[in-house]
């Protein structure tokens, strides 16, 4: 329970709602309550500075790392070149689409650990459809996306019908997909037969920016719109905040969650198509850390802009932060293991930060009680 702060001379009384009018039929004898509930009195410059520092700390870190690799003698010669930046950005497109897609399920309080393998499935199946079955360019793209949506639908139905922790379910589907990929590809790569349209899309630039980075930008806008500017997105936020309450305000909880898994799957399917575009060929080994990297990006993103809330701009900054540092460290001569190491540590850091932030909140809450 919160305290009623006593009216102070400097407290603005004017902006409060009038408690009641005199001709009100009700006699209420409580003295007019001039209190307001205040958590952050955001008046002082220090408090404002503190808030800015918090919201944009990851942005500052991103800028700082960028400056570091641009000036550090070991990296400066290669880091700040157009080609290097393009490679770095294009390298983030696949993981970026995965991360933005996983946001949709995470906002509703769910996880999907299978996104990496869904992308992998779409990747190998699209390649096979092109090379072995002679599918057309667009038919293949649509098929790749729909394959993702289909597997996402299976996840969604299992999670909402069985009501089992999505963590377990999607860990299961992730493993099953991997097995299916092994059986389906018979461990054989596909080098020929991928349409040029797709291969070029993975290499070409548009206004100096790689095509697939444009795709990432469009996906970011779509997800942002979906989560913040549609009733469906707002319902997902409500479900993530309090499932029981969401149900009691008439939100169709199960249907919304299942749909979120489908959407998440569709974007994972798209990520798979982008994987194929970038690689230009298919090797049936799926990087095992894709899902974890997506989780790290989403969690790290929740630590900036709208602190404590999963959000698209924060996620983008988090992805750039991971990309700049991993690329920078690789240029500096650190071996490839830095990729996974840095991602893993960032995930742990992001979750620790979230825990600290929520703890701080509870402390503030208890302090307020008088």
């Amino acid at each position: 329970m919160t305290t009623r702060s006593r009216p102070r001379p400097d407290e603005a009384v004017a902006d409060l709602p009038t408690p009641r009018t005199t001709d009100d039929p009700v006699v209420v004898t409580k003295a007019p309550d001039t209190s307001v509930d205040v958590r952050h009195p955001q008046r002082s410059v220090a408090a404002l500075g503190n808030r800015v520092l918090r919201q944009y700390s990851l942005v500052f870190l991103l800028v700082a790392s960028f400056v570091l690799y641009s000036t550090w003698s070991k990296t400066s010669s290669v880091f700040l070149t157009g080609d290097s930046l393009r490679v770095m950005a294009a390298g983030q497109a696949v993981i970026g689409v995965l991360t933005l897609g996983i946001l949709v399920t995470m906002v509703a309080g769910n996880f999907d650990l299978s996104v990496g393998n869904i992308a992998g499935l779409s990747y190998v199946m699209t390649a096979t459809l092109y090379a072995k079955h002679g599918w057309g360019l667009w038919a293949g793209v649509v098929a790749g996306i729909l394959i993702g949506g289909f597997v996402g639908g299976i996840n969604g139905v299992l999670v909402t019908v069985l009501r089992v922790d999505p963590f377990i379910i999607t860990l299961g589907t992730a493993s099953a997909i991997l097995g299916f990929i092994d059986w389906y590809t018979k461990d054989q790569s596909i080098v020929n037969g991928i349409p040029d349209g797709i291969r070029n899309f993975g290499k070409d630039n548009f206004f100096g920016v790689p095509d697939i980075v444009w795709v990432l930008a469009i996906v970011a806008i779509v997800i942002y719109y979906l989560l913040e500017h549609t009733p469906y997105g707002r319902n997902l936020h409500a479900i993530g905040s309090n499932r029981a309450a969401a149900r009691l305000v008439g939100i169709r909880v199960e249907r919304s969650i299942a749909t979120a898994f489908v959407i998440n799957g569709l974007f994972a399917g798209l990520a798979g198509v982008l994987m194929l575009a970038r690689a230009g060929s298919m090797t049936p080994t799926i990087p095992p850390t894709l899902a974890l990297t997506a989780l790290a990006g989403a969690f790290l993103g929740a630590a900036s802009f709208k602190v404590g809330r999963l959000n698209v701009p924060g996620t983008i900054v988090a992805l750039l932060f991971l990309a700049v540092n991993i690329t920078g460290l690789q240029y500096a001569g650190v071996a490839n293991w830095i990729n996974e190491m840095f991602t893993g540590l960032s995930l742990i850091f992001a979750i620790a930060l979230a825990a600290v932030l929520s703890k701080e909140r509870t402390v503030k809450k208890t302090r307020k009680t008088a």
């Binding site: 329970m1 919160t2 305290t3 009623r4 702060s5 006593r6 102070r8 409060l16 709602p17 009038t18 408690p19 009641r20 009100d24 039929p25 009700v26 006699v27 209420v28 004898t29 409580k30 003295a31 309550d33 209190s35 307001v36 509930d37 205040v38 958590r39 913040e228 500017h229 549609t230 009733p231 707002r234 319902n235 936020h237 409500a238 905040s241 309090n242 029981a244 309450a245 969401a246 149900r247 009691l248 305000v249 008439g250 939100i251 169709r252 404590g308 809330r309 809450k365 302090r367 009680t369 008088a370």
Partner: protein
């Protein structure tokens, strides 16, 4: 109630306790004297300084320098030297609002977390010794259960008593030290409250000194020997509880004479039925017949487990219905889901605000809109500005005190949170509003405002079914009260409604014909 013994000794005295939070006085030079063997109630609205006092006594909050704390015969200790360890050594024992008990573990294990596990050879837990010690404690505190019983199997009041025993177990003599109970009944259902209060009276009679913090006036009057009322960090007075009325206490808490804390009922309701319920069965209900008139507040009186909450949930499509029929405005009404109920114009405010109503982490604005987002989505654009202006209007209309509509809802006080939940539904002008304990955890002032909002809604044509545990409050707030017992409505009481009569009826298995009407 035990008479205070002649020439009472002082168990605990505090002198000149002050606490400043961020420049304003939360507690202003408090003097308090608690006699040995008495139940001393500490009363006050939210922000009156009750919790601050308790926290200073517990040593978890440092008071401003200058005050003193004296326990029994020992020397006065300056508050700046007070620590949790000193509080414990001096014999102060605290049981908080939501005591940290472990429902899945046995009583013996729960107690062992306070006193430690007795060890046998090789460091193993000596279960036999632990169970024997627990059995002895349960016997002494008259809790009828085996030490191995999981806590979850106990009734709610007994779980709370176990928490009390855990706090007291390491002391041998009952009449030293003070047991401090901070809103022990806040989380208890009504039927359990009396059971706990009985136990407390027993402990007091055995010589235990108790400092009882609460904002439930009826409880305080029934259990306390003396009452200290705080308001705005200052002590209003310490008075004998004997002969006090609730109205006296409300006057002291609020600071002005109270004429009516509850709005009076409009004399006439049209008599048309807003909702008729015939033979409704499901869960604990075995055939409920009830007619809700247009524009009335129909109270439901019933003990815990009588099915009062289930009745509301069935009418909102959130609990399966086994049989019976319901009409709404003359049309058949059989909601299969909350969506269906909402479409028909029925609204529901659940009992547990935190668990079932609030979207914590979301703003006040989003909480107000919850479930109605689609109405702001036009031509593929979300009309945020319209949503904001609606939210700001609701904040004014429904007396919600906030800094801005973007404030996270969990930062509001209980009363304001509840007003947000009420506003969420009332802004849609529902035909029927189902309210389950709308004033739980809400202070006296906000409580009056919530009833004012309900009354205003009924004037605009909403009909209300109200479930409240406290008979006094129910009697004041309702136009009629239906008594639910054994899964049926046993009687309907018209105005004037007498709270004691309600209590009686709720507890009486059979009602003779003359009282049953409607």
């Amino acid at each position: 109630m035990p008479a205070v013994m002649a020439g009472p000794r002082t168990a605990l005295a505090v002198r000149g306790l002050s606490k400043t939070y961020a420049g304003h006085l939360a507690l202003d030079s408090l003097f308090l004297q608690i006699r040995t063997g008495e139940v001393h109630a500490l009363l006050g609205g939210n922000g009156s300084g009750k919790s601050t006092t308790i926290k200073i006594l517990a040593g978890v909050v440092a008071a401003d320098t200058g005050g003193e704390i004296v326990l029994g015969e020992s020397d006065a200790v300056g508050v700046h030297d007070w620590t949790p360890a000193k509080a414990h050594a001096a014999g102060l024992r605290f049981v908080h609002q939501q005591p940290a008990v472990f429902p899945e573990l046995s009583i013996a294990e729960n107690l062992a977390f306070g006193a430690g596990f007795p060890r046998g050879a090789g460091g193993r837990v000596d279960w036999r010794a632990l169970n024997a010690r627990t059995a002895e404690l349960l016997d002494r505190y008259e809790i009828h259960a085996s030490p191995k019983t999981p806590l979850a199997a106990l009734r709610a009041a007994d779980r709370c008593r176990v928490a009390i025993v855990r706090a007291l177990q390491d002391r041998d003599d009952a009449d030293s030290g003070v047991l401090v109970l901070d809103e022990p009944t806040a989380a208890l259902p009504a039927a359990e409250v009396e059971h706990l209060l009985d136990a407390l009276r027993g402990y007091a009679e055995a010589g235990q000194t108790i400092l009882y913090v609460s904002h439930r006036l009826d409880e305080v009057l029934s259990v306390a020997d003396r009452v200290t009322v705080l308001r705005d960090g200052r002590k209003v007075d310490t008075v004998e509880a004997q002969g006090l009325r609730e109205a006296d206490l409300i006057e002291m808490i609020v600071g002005r004479p109270i004429e009516r804390a509850f709005p009076s009922a409009p004399p006439e309701t049209t008599g048309d039925a807003a909702m008729t319920i015939r033979g409704l069965r499901g869960g604990p209900l075995h055939g409920v017949d009830l007619t809700l008139r247009k524009g009335e507040v129909l109270g439901i009186a019933g003990l815990l487990g009588s099915g009062r909450s289930e009745l509301l949930r069935m009418l909102f499509g959130a609990h399966p219905i086994d049989g019976g029929s319901v009409t709404l405005d003359g049309n058949d009404y059989a909601p299969a889901s909350p969506q269906g109920a909402m479409k028909a114009g029925v609204a529901y405010v659940p009992e547990d605000r935190q668990a079932e109503a609030l979207l914590c982490g979301e703003s006040v604005r989003h909480n107000l809109t919850a479930g109605q987002e689609a109405s702001y989505f036009r031509k593929l654009l979300y009309r945020h500005r319209l949503e904001r202006s609606d939210a700001q209007r609701s904040i004014g209309d429904f007396l919600i005190r906030v800094v801005s509509d973007t404030q996270p809802v969990e930062t509001l006080s209980g009363g304001n949170q509840q007003k947000v939940v009420m506003a969420r539904w009332l802004r849609r002008r529902p035909k029927v509003l189902l309210l389950d304990e709308p004033t739980q955890g809400v202070d006296v002032g906000a409580r009056a405002e919530i009833y004012q909002l309900i009354r205003r809604a009924t004037e605009q044509g909403t009909s209300v079914i109200l479930v409240v545990s406290e008979p006094e409050e129910l009697a004041h707030a309702s136009d009629r009260v239906a008594v639910l017992r054994g899964g049926r409505i046993t009687t309907v009481v018209e105005r004037p409604i007498d709270a004691h009569k309600l209590t009686e009826l709720m507890n009486t298995p059979q009602v003779t014909g003359s009282e049953a009407s409607q």
